[in-house]
Amino acid sequence: MLMHVIHMGHDVFKANDKIAEKNKTALDKHGVFSVNVMGAIGSGKTTLIEEAVRYLKEKYRTVVIAGDVIAEMDASRFRKLGVQTIPVNTGKECHLDAKLVEKALDEIDLDNTDLLIIENVGNLICPVDFKLGEHLRVVVVSVTEGDDIILKHPMIFKTAELAVINKVDIAHAVDVDAEKMRDDILSLNPDVPVILTSKHDWESLETWISFIELGIGRAQETQRK
């Protein structure tokens, strides 16, 4: 028997990153703005997306990819709003990856799409290392998760491009200081916009929606150039 050292240098995440880049190029070509919504189970991702879709679908051709481990509950909520919805069941996986999104893109008529919202699988850890090809990485956290949740999951907040603190209307009831949560996020990621939302406060939802609308405008402008 002879021993050999074989050099490989194979980057496991880069394989995903490459597909993500491909996805992004396809979306850019068609001027589609895409949002990756990440956050824990019960943080309110689905509700925030519903509110955004309800408003934006009147102006922009909207498609939703609903990532979930096995169920299709979220997908049916989006379908009820009358937008194309592609459920992506990850099986035992805890995150969406670029390959799953690539497959879902095959089902979308990108020529006739302005906005693609991707709801990731509910958790604050696994989605961090997997780019999908999105233009905006959003993390949603609710006050019900406790105000130490942010420092327990630093990387998702460090790498987010928009942070949403949700359910702030019940912060007092769960004895949580939403401002402390905001400070924690900013301590990890000083440049990230942080917004506080509640589904009972339309003004706060408008702020959330305006971030997406801003992105759509930018994507369409870039495509026209």
Binding site: H4, V5, I6, M8, G9, H10, F13, C126, P154, L188
Partner: protein, 133 residues
Amino acid sequence: MHEYSIACEIFEQVIATAEAHEAQEVRHVILKMGRLAHTNPEQLSFCFKAIAEGSIAENAEFIVEMIPPSLECECGYTGTVDETQIGKDGELQSELLEYIAALECPVCGKNARITGGRELIIKSIDIETEVEK
């Protein structure tokens, strides 16, 4: 937990490379893992063993080299986080937080861009063959 799917990917790559080199057995799999990657080396090794059962890599041992984060600042500084400083701040409660706190530029103090430390690389494998290569 996503170590299982990552272990599958590592297994496929390792086996393909090992077979291409006519390996009889894979002895070691040497990985380079970023400190900021959300991957647990023990879980990864456990999953790999489960997947590799019955293959030429079933007795392979995982050797994981941890890579410190590296940064690039708009002031022009590029470099690696000084690991000797990690663990000195008693107030922070996790190693990951300490690494993230260390991502400030040591020159101007600004929050620098992460250029390394999130990767997972199969660096090399040690194999046994019957033939001289």
